[in-house]
Amino acid sequence: MLSIKKLHARVEGKEILKGINIEVKAGEIHAVMGPNGSGKSTLASVLAGNPKFEVTRGSIIFQDKDVLDMEPEDRSREGIFLSFQYPIEIPGVSMVNFMRAAVNEHRKYKGLEPITAGDFLRLMRDKREMLGMDKQLVSRSVNEGFSGGEKKRNEIFQMAMLNPKLSILDETDSGLDIDALRIVAAGVNKLRTPENATILITHYQRLLEYIKPDYVHVLHDGKIVRSAGPELALELEEKGYDWLAE
């Protein structure tokens, strides 16, 4: 589904990613772990097409298409979703209008008519209930005045609304208390199918107790220094990252 090869990227002239290789197949969950500053969030931003980051070498192929040629909106409509580490507050844009615009853009891309008002409200309600989100939240402006946990839950809500093929969850566990973490993890697990895949970017092993990865990659100084099965996460929890850095 996703093939990242020899990916190099920089921001403000500084090279952050120095040759990343990852292969993700449908149905798989990959965890990308690593210490602060290792390039985890840069990888997420580059996959989503953040214009602040410049890809200098390498390729990203998603479902046989070259992702690097695509605008962020096209990547989304092709099925890539990024759950932000720090979701953006957008005063004045209501969640309802935002989601309706997003859902309809996805439908347009597939050659479908805009969603009817009734279907849209039903979809919103179902996904909101699935994630145990307060009704009030979806009637407010996007992320405005949301708590840290509410913002993260809202990311997963949007993911549920757009039903992506590849979800990249960037530090979705940070800022969540244990109850919120359970709900968010349950939501991610419910959305899992044999056709879609997930990349979990996380600093801690905690999230991986709730969402079981098939592969764990350790990122250090812009390179993947180790890839293995889920047991690697436990080893990291025990030993930290330093032993891998050598």
């Binding site: 932000f84 957008i90 935002f98």
Partner: protein, 446 residues
Amino acid sequence: MIEQQYIDLFQQYRSEIDSNSVNIMNEQRDAAFKTFKEIGFPTSKIEDYIHSDVSRAFDADLGLNIRDIPIPVNPYDTFKCDVPNLATNLHFLVNDRYYDNRNQIEGLPKGVYAGGMKEFAKLYPKIFKEHYGQGAEYSDNGLVAYNTMFVPDGFVLYLPKNTEVEKPIQLINILRGGVDLSVNRRILIIAEKNAKAKLLVCDHAIDDVHFVVTQVTEIFADETSVVDFYELEENSTKVTRLSSLFTEQQSQSHVIASNITLHNGYTRNNYRFKLQGEHAHATIGGLAIADKQQHVDNYAFLDHQMPNCTSNELFKYVLQERSTGVFCGKILVEKDAQKTLAYQTNRNLVTSPDAKMFAKPQLEIYADDVKCSHGLTTGHLDDEAMFYLQTRGIPEAEAKMLLMVAFTKDVLDLINIESLKERLEFLIDKRFRGELMRCGNCNVCK
């Protein structure tokens, strides 16, 4: 000298001007003329007009309809406003004259007058004389002096003590003409004790000639009265709108003035608010959306004269292409005006490298126990918000649109007519999409 042709015209046609107006208005022309000869039109040499040399608009061959030649139009038949079905009470000023059609006016509480100014002067000469020209100072404002010299007619809303008009009243200013015109109109609102009403004024230019419009509005809000005064400008790019609004507020009154420049040519809106009684409250909102080479200048002067008054000002501009925005917000807190609360906010979104914004907050505080604040920002669209929207599949152009519409939202929140707010949201969206080139829904220009 630009002024000379108007000075000559005034002297030459003085008797015609008078014969087509009413005595109380005529009585004030001489003094205004004297001032006008001294100060003339404002030019960019005056500090408050440094970015808006409004005198240039008059340096043209403009006609004045001094002889009151009828304009062939029945606005009730031909005109559909962009804000329809809002008011039961619909009035028209065609250029500078009230279009009389009494049949359309119904449902006003007893004693309330909404209609032509000349008519009002005849029906209520005492009340008219006590108010007309009493709020509009022209010693330092040549536009008001000029207006006072030539104005033939206008619109009056008179609310006797304790009356309340629940539904909004709508006044539509229509500009019509076959030649370039100088149009001078007047609006007078008198709210006696505890009276309440909402007036929506819409500006439309129908014909494709140049109009240079002066509008002078006086609002007298007596104790505990509430006056909502909303203006929506949807003019063609050939219109120069030069508006001066004066309010005098007594204790516990509330005046809400909100002005939306949706489409225009060249606009200067002057606001002069006087808080003359304790616990009076003023709300001033302004939203300007400009592109092409449009120019929007709002000059707001809030004068806190008495203690315990509050004021809240919010002006926002969205400037695209080669447009220019100007804002000056002056707050004067006089010596006796203790416990004043005055808030001023000016936020500007500039989406093109060729668009310009000039903004100046100006606070003069002579009392020591007050809270005043002002906030000013001018910037571009938030890159992070753009990216966030795009990662959800929303294309760049659409994301821009959503953010621009969102930017205007809190100005609309100052409007207390729910249906008007909704309609404006719709029109603003259309405006940003370029679907509102002249006056949207109006039949005449389609």
